[in-house]
Structures are given as structure tokens and as C-alpha cells.
Point group: D2
Chain length 108, copies 4
């Protein structure tokens, strides 16, 4: 039997995996990043056990193509989700790791 | 050689296909539909040749699951994109067809 | 500090969230379900710590539209991922819950 | 009223937009690229009016992350769709443009 804390960690993982693979690829620019941040936060906040979500798209990492926009990639996103399962609260974070270039997800 | 109007129609198709397959599956509810509408509109408006996008998520068609939200499906979306390619303007529409249940895309 | 088992559970959650939100919405039919199952399995198996993935698309739940195909939805998928993090092995499952209609994800 | 050829071009655009935004972000490597190519081809071939689809993931452009895989991006894909609408056949292509770095879609 998993512990409540393991279940909370599992649920946090689901949210970051969902957030990432649902929205990566969306066209985005400096002028539209804010509406995308809000939409992602509100969307993921609906999922089970979520008590907090913050999403920040790093404007410095937006690389404009010839048509003046980018596509959202993992390396542009800093996100944190907080989930509560039967009293156990877990926070997890998605953040670009500058050493490896990998969009790392971890429990915090 | 395609005509300018054929190219404009092609570009309009790209936008509706992109809009649909990028955002279908996103968690959504009556209280978050508006932020998702805005984000989709702003995101797709960045793509080449787009001069207008409107997205409406049909609140009547949101079917709540046991956790009180829905996932965005094609049948919930009414969207219209307007593209201009070298002076040729084309409008295209995504709309649930009540007779067939299919989320129909067409030039208008 | 999270335990190794909590991290393994977290990683398993990421994989199910990713699998779901990457591939839901894909056109699918009885004749193409197998190639989609293989592609999803192979794709998710690349993610960190995964030691096993099985994906089954329920042919009974494919609901043909007027053009003779379906779009992959959560309720059609049974998936299991196995992850190993520093010796701790965790299995997690995505499966349609017939009582609630919800595509439930859980640790097993 | 759009011409049949404009409608065919529109339909071809839908398919490329769908293909791109459904599958971009999928984990992929040299050893799994083939199953993903087949799944994309079979999936998109189900959509209305499609009479041919070929998808090629450019192995040279797979850029391994620290865990030994990539995520599918537009610049890795060469795809061609052929659609027929009321006797009018249109081909369209998605291909990385080496001059601009943009994953260009065009009628051919």
C-alpha cells in the first residue's frame, strides 16, 4: 500500500507531466505569454488535489522565429504545483536546469 | 502553381488544425473557460498571416467529471480564424455540427 | 527530504500525465490502434527511470464519427508504467473507472 | 463560394496543423523514431479526404538530452499529405527550412 505522501507525490507528478505535454508547442511571444501563463495555471488548478499552481514563462528564453514568435518549450517554463492528498501537502517544480539544459521536474 | 486564394485557404486550415490539436485535452470548467479562450486566441494570432481569431468554449457542453471539470473537446469549441495572404482574405470556422456530432471545419 | 519511494511515485505520475496529455486527441481507429499503442509505449519508455510501459487502447470504446474514426480519449486507454528510482520500483496505472467514467490514475 | 481546389488546400492545411501540434513534444530517439513515424502516418491518414501521408523524422536533427532522448520538434519533421476533395488532389509539405530555421508548410 502506498503512503499518503507517496500518493501526493504521484499526484504532483501527474500535474507537471500534464502541464508540460498539454501546452508545449503552443505559439507564444512576449506579448502573449501572460495570457498563456494564466490559462495554464487555471487549467491545471482544476485537476484533482491541486491547491496551488504558478506558471512563469521566461521571456529571456523566448527565441523569435522569422514570423516573430516562439513555440513554448520546456526550457522556457518555471512551474510549481502544490497538491494535498488527505492532509499531506507536496510541492513540485518544473525548472530549466542551466547545467544540463534539461527541463527538470522535482519534489521540493 | 497554387493561387493566392488557395494558399490563404491552406493557411487557414493550418490554424484550425493547430488550434484543435494543441488545446484539446486541456482541463477546463465554466470558471476557467474564459482564460483558455483568451490564451488560445492570442496564441493562434501569432501564426503567419493571421489577422483575426475568435474562440468560444460552449459552456452548455462542458460535461463535469467527478472532480468537477471537463477536458476541452472539439465539440465544445466554436472558433473562427481570418487570414490574409497577399491581399486575399479567407475566413474559416470550426463548429460542432449538431446533426453529425462532428467538429466541422469549413471555409466561410 | 522526499524518500526514494516518494520520488519514484512522483516520476511515475509524470509519465502518466505526459502520456495522457501528449496523445489524447490523436485520430485513431481499430485498424490504427496498434501502431499508436506501440508509438506511445516506445515514446514514454524513453523518459527518465522508466523500466516498463504497456498501453492498450480499448477497441470496444472507439466511437466512430461520421468519417469512420475516433479521437483518442482518456476513457479508451489502459496504461501501466513501471519506474525505478535508486532501487525503488513503483507501478502506476491509468484506467477508465466504469463507475465514475473518470480515467483514473493510481499507484498499484 | 470557395472552389473545390481551395477546399482541398484548406483540408491539407488542417492535416499539417493537426499533425504538428498533436505530436510535437513527444519523446523520441533514433531507436523509436520509426514507430512514431508509423503512428503519425496512420493517425493522420484517418482524417477526412486524406489519400496519402508520409512522415520522416530526421535522425540527424535528434538532439539528445542528458537522459539520451529528444522531444519531437517541428524542425525534425518532413511530412507530406495528399488530400482529394471532389476530384481535386492537393499535396502539401512540412519541412524544415535551413535558411530560416522555420518548419515551413506549403502547397506543392
Amino acid at each position: 500500500m502506498p503512503t499518503r505522501r507517496e500518493i501526493a507525490a504521484f499526484e504532483a507528478g501527474i500535474k507537471l507531466g500534464a502541464l508540460y505535454h498539454q501546452f508545449v508547442g503552443s505559439p507564444v511571444s512576449a506579448s502573449t505569454a501572460e495570457s498563456l501563463e494564466r490559462a495554464i495555471e487555471e487549467s491545471i488548478s482544476l485537476q484533482p488535489y491541486v491547491i496551488g499552481v504558478t506558471v512563469r514563462i521566461n521571456r529571456q528564453r523566448l527565441a523569435e522565429n522569422i514570423f516573430g514568435y516562439s513555440e513554448l518549450s520546456g526550457s522556457m517554463i518555471t512551474a510549481e504545483v502544490q497538491v494535498e492528498y488527505e492532509g499531506e501537502v507536496v510541492r513540485a517544480r518544473l525548472e530549466h536546469d542551466p547545467n544540463t539544459g534539461y527541463p527538470m521536474m522535482r519534489l521540493v
